[in-house]
């Protein structure tokens, strides 16, 4: 019983600090929040921005898949195009 209690307080102590650190890391990657200078962005706001950002990314992938299905006449993407992109990414 006592071991459970000590584990209890141990878990909550670690998670509070870690969560703050991770949340701030997450904030850095969200485009909208990065522009705001205020440090006091609530956790719920970060979560909301994160969710809508992921939904946007999902939608973009879907739209791009749609676009590519029309552009690529065969599913085997032209090696020339792949080479172009490889050079762009480098």
């Amino acid at each position: 019983m006592s071991s459970r209690r000590s584990r209890q307080s141990g878990v909550s102590r670690i998670s509070d600090d870690q969560i703050i650190e991770l949340v701030s890391k997450l904030r850095q990657h969200l485009p909208e929040i990065r522009e705001r200078r205020s440090d006091k962005v609530s956790a719920s706001k970060v979560l909301q921005e994160t969710c809508s950002y992921i939904k946007n990314l999902h939608k973009e992938v879907d739209d791009l898949s749609e676009r590519l299905s029309q552009l690529l006449s065969t599913i085997d993407a032209d090696s020339a195009e792949a080479a172009i992109i490889r050079s762009l990414i480098m």
């Binding site: 584990r7 609530s42 990314l57 999902h58 990414i89």
Partner: protein, 192 residues
């Protein structure tokens, strides 16, 4: 953490491989089938770039493998990797029990913290107490939403969820960038 450009390269390589395999499996495809093939190859490539190190990538592969048709493509792209990744996925339900227990412990400790805070701020206006509980409810609601968006999210505790989300967002961004580059290049190519 891998650099974004190496992540993109890895993704592109695997994606092209997937598209090539799909094309060889099915010669004539409808527009819709092609779109699905492109998207599936892209997702598997994105997950594969993480090489089984993240929960979301394993969950993504597992979800894709549920469909009999898609499973074949998954196995082709991942090759021997797929066996290893499948094994890791089956561990997930076992881990979730442990996590559920630690979650309950966390929740109970949060409850006691909240009660302690409440007694401290008993003197402050009731609006503040209400605001805090509303904020907590919002966080809870949005955390659940996030869990539904990240593959395998339902198995993760709060800390893992945030870490996985970070990695997932970076991978999604790489995926989108590469796909957009190909789409733009194809468009230019078609115009000529």
């Amino acid at each position: 953490m891998r650099s974004p450009s190496s992540l993109k390269q890895e993704f592109l390589k695997k994606w092209m491989m997937g598209l090539h395999i799909y094309g060889s499996l099915k010669k004539k495809m409808s527009l819709l089938e092609r779109k699905k093939a492109i998207k599936l190859s892209a997702d598997i490539a994105m997950a594969s770039a993480r090489n089984g190190t993240t929960c979301w990538s394993r969950a993504l592969v597992a979800n894709a493998s549920k469909d009999e048709q898609d499973k074949i493509l998954v196995q082709h792209i991942l090759g021997t990797e797929s066996e290893r990744l499948m094994k890791k996925v089956s561990v997930l339900p076992l881990m979730s029990n442990k996590r559920i227990r630690s979650k309950k412990v966390l929740r109970r400790s949060y409850g006691s913290i909240r009660r302690a805070k409440k007694s401290n701020i008993a003197a402050s206006p009731p609006n503040k107490v209400l605001a805090i509980s509303i904020a907590k409810r919002l966080v809870r609601k949005r955390t659940l939403l996030l869990k539904s968006l990240v593959p395998g999210g339902e198995f993760m505790d709060e800390i893992a969820l945030i870490e996985e989300t970070l990695d997932y967002i970076l991978s999604l961004r790489a995926q989108v960038d590469v796909m957009r580059s190909l789409a733009n290049a194809s468009e230019l190519n078609n115009k000529n």
